[in-house]
Amino acid sequence: MSDLTPTTLRNNVPLSPDEVLEIALESVLEFLPCQRDRNAFSLVNKSWNRIEAETRFEVVIGNCYSISPQRVVNRFKAIKSVVLKGKPRFADFSLLPPDWGARFSPWVVVLSGAYRGLEKLCLKRMYVSNDDLVVVANTFVGFKEIRLVCCEGFGTSGLAVLAGKCRQLRVLELIEDEVADDEEDWISFFPGGATCLESLMFDCVECPLNFNALEKLVARSPSLKKLRVNRYVSLGQLRHLMIIAPQLTHLGTGSYGPLEDLEDPLPANELRDHVSSAFAASKSLVCLSGFREIVPYFLPAVYPVCANLTSLNLSYANILVEEFKQVISHCHKLQILWVLDLISDGGLVAVAATCKDLQELRVFPMDTIEDNAGPVSDVGLHAIAEGCKKLQSILFFCQQMTNAAVISMSINCPDLIVFRLCIIGRYRPDHSTGEPMDEGFGAIVKNCKKLTRLAVSGLLTDRAFSYIGQYGKLLRTLSVAFAGDSDMGLTYVLEGCPKLEKLEIRDSPFGDIALRSGMHQYHNMRFLWMSTCKVTRQGCREIARQIPGVIVEIFNWNQVGEEGENSDLVDTLYMYRSLEGPRADAPRFVNIL
């Protein structure tokens, strides 16, 4: 190595070859923001590992129990942004008992000790208390951005502290959280004078609001681009906000109509005209959502912005098909659309006719009861397939479907990355042929070469899973419910899908044999969830014994089951890879094997 002369100087001191290499690598790392790539980089050797650790500024922890906060701060010294996810997704559907875990408190204690310079925090499905928010507000001096998604445990008093103390706050986004009403007028806590706010989203905060304070806040937030208000803001009030902030790019309306308890002095047609003018003046608006408690009379007021919209969320809007068609006919640039199935197949046909650039579509059900037919079906899906060929992501709830429509989508929409079809009627076959839905999903995995996320439903035999195992080579997330015939179904998937990271299964006849078939895979996966399947305690115990680095949690809904101690069948299995041992905060009902 002596022929490598140090040609670079730092502070007039010649650098050693190793130091030169380090600087070179650091420069390279600047171009590697993606965590996956950095992880690979850090595995080359110890020195690369160290360099990577020193230059990483954001850490994403997909499962808060996969690593301890202490280990994170020991490895990375200069973190500015933390993304932390807690409960598994099925917790959203009441399949996880409360008190299961995923508390932010142990994390905030350690993070506040190590990362004084922390600027950004994003938490998903975690239990965050008011005290935790106080720690955040008090510790991180330059704190800039907080996003809480599907979290709970805090209330408006925690928000008040954040608002009051984080002087550099740019982003405060609350998305589908459960926020307690601590009767604190949190909006009033933002300090006077101009704020740094760029994004303020609180549509999920189900508490009355001090509108006066909000109005003044918006008026002194010149950088505000994204605003989503809650349903305690009426349409008339919204209009005032829009006039003060014509620079908004993202707007979430409150109640889309007059509020009963508020005196709205304007007659309806005048209000509508005023709102329409306000929309016309919002030249930068590209994303529109909200529309809660909608009074359809006022919907036409949005027409002036429709032509610019790239994202529209009408999934809380109870409107008629004709009213929807009127709106959508103006939305030529739309890329993201969330709607209710109320729009029916006719509405979907209208979408297909107009929204040629559509990338993401979500159709939610108004009615969640299993029924023979519903307002949307294979007809609508077929239309979307043929009209929206750039589709990348779809979530579609319906009561009935055909293989033909699904196959059509697989052929017409080759860019599909996410395909989630939920046929609400369990075990429902193709309603025109009576066949299982195997061929449809088979076509999706076969033809959609970029597919990474799949959710299946309807009547499915093991054959469907054999297709998934055969063709789903890029699949990372798979959701299964009420499907399959035997252990072979799950085996096909575990043996065939090398990239699988998240597998969530409920109410399907997969047992210990299937479980065993995935032993080579589990340390490559983030987690496996199986509830109301056929796995037994014994089967789970075997996995726990044989695979180090994987935590196996089981719990039963009935603590003292009817079958007594002999009941070997496990209600819920949640298994995840982890660098740590069994967690210390597991509640009584959770058994860690």
Binding site: A180, P267, V295, Y316, P365, I369, F397, C422
Partner: protein, 194 residues
């Protein structure tokens, strides 16, 4: 394998069953709470929520105990409770709009409006004027609609055609079945305070 239905009619597994609810809430251990959520517009079709909505319900304070008409599978379909909870109208009534057809003499097709949107007669009439591009004038108890060749009328519950404006607004809203804007001599006849 059958899925486990936590709420089975009449069955009360209080002592042994795990209850769902926010930490520290004892009430949920005492009763099984069902709630009916009515659709706003369609004929009220009940959407049952399982007891896991108990936390949100208790917080909103708007649940009613009602027997499950059909046993519901926990967590199916996979919709977040946040979304499920957003549909019930905050008002007690199941109906939302009061939609009535509006015809105008000489116009080729009818319109439909939601009476609930308007504050009162003045508001309604301004909207009709705007919708049909005409002038209805001012209402006078004695002389009907002055200053215009049009008269707004409505068919009430008894099937009679009445002049809009005679009865209090609330009474009008509940008895109006359809509207008709009369024109010309018929209208003038009505306007003469009969």
């Amino acid at each position: 394998m059958e899925s486990i239905n936590i709420q089975e009619e009449g069955l009360n597994l209080k002592a042994t069953e795990l209850r769902l609810g926010l930490p520290g809430r004892d009430e949920t251990e005492k009763e099984t709470i069902f709630s009916f959520k009515n659709n706003k517009r369609a004929a009220p079709k009940s959407t049952e929520d399982n007891e896991s909505e108990a936390n949100s319900d208790a917080k909103h304070g708007d649940h009613e105990a009602a027997p499950a008409a059909k046993a519901q599978i926990v967590g199916w379909p996979p919709i977040r409770s946040y979304r499920k909870n957003n549909f019930p109208p905050k008002k007690a009534e199941a109906e939302f709009g009061i939609y009535v057809k509006v015809s105008m003499d000489g116009a080729p097709y009818l319109r439909k409006i939601d009476l609930k949107v308007y504050n009162g007669y003045a508001d309604l009439l301004r909207a009709l004027e705007s919708m049909f591009k005409l002038s209805i004038g001012y209402y006078s108890e004695r002389e009907g609609y002055k200053g215009s060749e049009y008269a707004p009328t409505y068919e009430d519950k008894d099937g009679d055609w009445m002049l809009v404006g005679d009865v209090p607004w609330d009474m009008f809203m509940s008895s109006c079945k359809r509207l008709r804007i009369m024109k010309g001599s018929e209208a003038r006849g009505l306007g003469c305070g009969v």
